[in-house]
């Protein structure tokens, strides 16, 4: 990552992901289940996984999570975001390799499911109670639906990034 072009691109993608993350946190969620959200910032992670590598997606994800929790002022949500995000990234990376960069929506759905499981795991540790497991099916329903649409978004977007494709 010594290349200035790469550093610039990574910081640009971090800025885009962060903007999406902050704007999304301002959208009120109609469902009273903690952890339900659109997950639009995942589009950037998916794009990076498709066109670049695991490392760059990881860097952008970590920067977005750390800065995002500072900017939105929800520092306690940081651990939920981080564990969910990391698990999501690992699962998406593996499925993306198995599917050979195709069927982006399925990669995204599986990533969303992994994200929800990561969140519940942290909730189990932080709240020291198994009752949070009752939230999992509700989170999974929303995760599968939103994951499908963010996956479609990422799929359409990645077809229209010829310049970025050449660079990497």
């Amino acid at each position: 990552m010594k290349n200035i072009k790469q550093i610039t691109l990574l910081s640009m993608f971090t800025a885009i992901a962060l903007t999406i993350f902050v704007v999304e946190s301002a959208i009120p969620v109609p469902v009273p289940i903690p952890g339900v959200k659109l997950g639009l910032a995942n589009i950037i992670t998916l794009i990076l996984l498709l066109h670049w590598d695991f490392k760059s997606a990881l860097v952008v994800l970590l920067m977005r999570t750390i800065l995002g929790s500072i900017f939105t002022g929800q520092v306690t949500v940081f651990f939920y975001s981080l564990s969910g995000g990391l698990l999501c990234l690992i699962v998406m990376y593996l499925i993306n390799r198995v599917l050979k960069q195709k069927l982006v929506w399925f990669t995204s759905v599986m990533g969303a499911i992994a994200h929800n499981i990561g969140q519940i795991l942290v909730a189990l540790i932080l709240l020291r109670s198994t009752y949070v497991l009752y939230y999992l099916p509700f989170l999974l329903v929303s995760g599968i639906i939103t994951g499908f649409f963010t996956g479609l978004c990422a799929g359409f977007l990645s077809n229209r990034l010829p310049y970025f494709k050449k660079l990497s």
């Binding site: 969620v29 009273p32 289940i33 903690p34 002022g73 929800q74 306690t76 949500v77 939920y80 599917l99 195709k102 069927l103 399925f106 759905v109 499911i113 909730a123 932080l126 709240l127 020291r128 109670s129 009752y131 949070v132 009752y134 939230y135 999992l136 099916p137 509700f138 999974l140 329903v141 599968i144 639906i145 499908f148």
Partner: protein
């Protein structure tokens, strides 16, 4: 549409249906539990027998780092009516009456859950 796509669609639909089924089961599960327990940082600080509540009342409690939560207790039901957390999800979920979904206030580390009645008194009991 090739075979791989079909398999992926099938897996997604099956997972979605299973999740919906579980949601339905959890939401409609009947319950004879009536002991509302309020947890702060994983420790039960209050337990209230909802069957013995006659007059609705409010109760406010504070955490170690300035967290303020107010609950409203009615016969058989309990709700969070005020919390100084940023997302207000605990307030939006409204009244709970069975022992499945708890009221969880993640930012304030507060959880309210209805459990099977026991005479064990952790804090205040009415």
């Amino acid at each position: 549409m090739n075979k791989k796509t079909k398999i992926c669609i099938l897996i997604t639909v099956i997972l979605l249906l299973i999740s919906i089924l579980f949601c339905f089961v959890i939401y409609h599960l009947p319950s004879d539990a009536a002991m509302a327990k309020i947890y702060q940082n994983g420790e039960a600080v209050y337990s209230i027998d909802l069957n013995k509540v006659e007059e609705p009342y409010e109760m406010t409690f504070e955490g170690d780092h300035g967290e303020i939560n107010t609950v409203h207790i009615k016969p058989g039901e309990i709700a969070m009516i005020h919390a100084n957390c940023p997302d207000q999800l605990c307030v939006k979920i409204g009244y709970i009456h069975n022992n499945t979904l708890p009221i969880t206030c993640l930012p304030n580390h507060v959880m309210i859950h209805i459990e099977k009645g026991s005479d064990e008194i952790d804090g205040l009991a009415y």
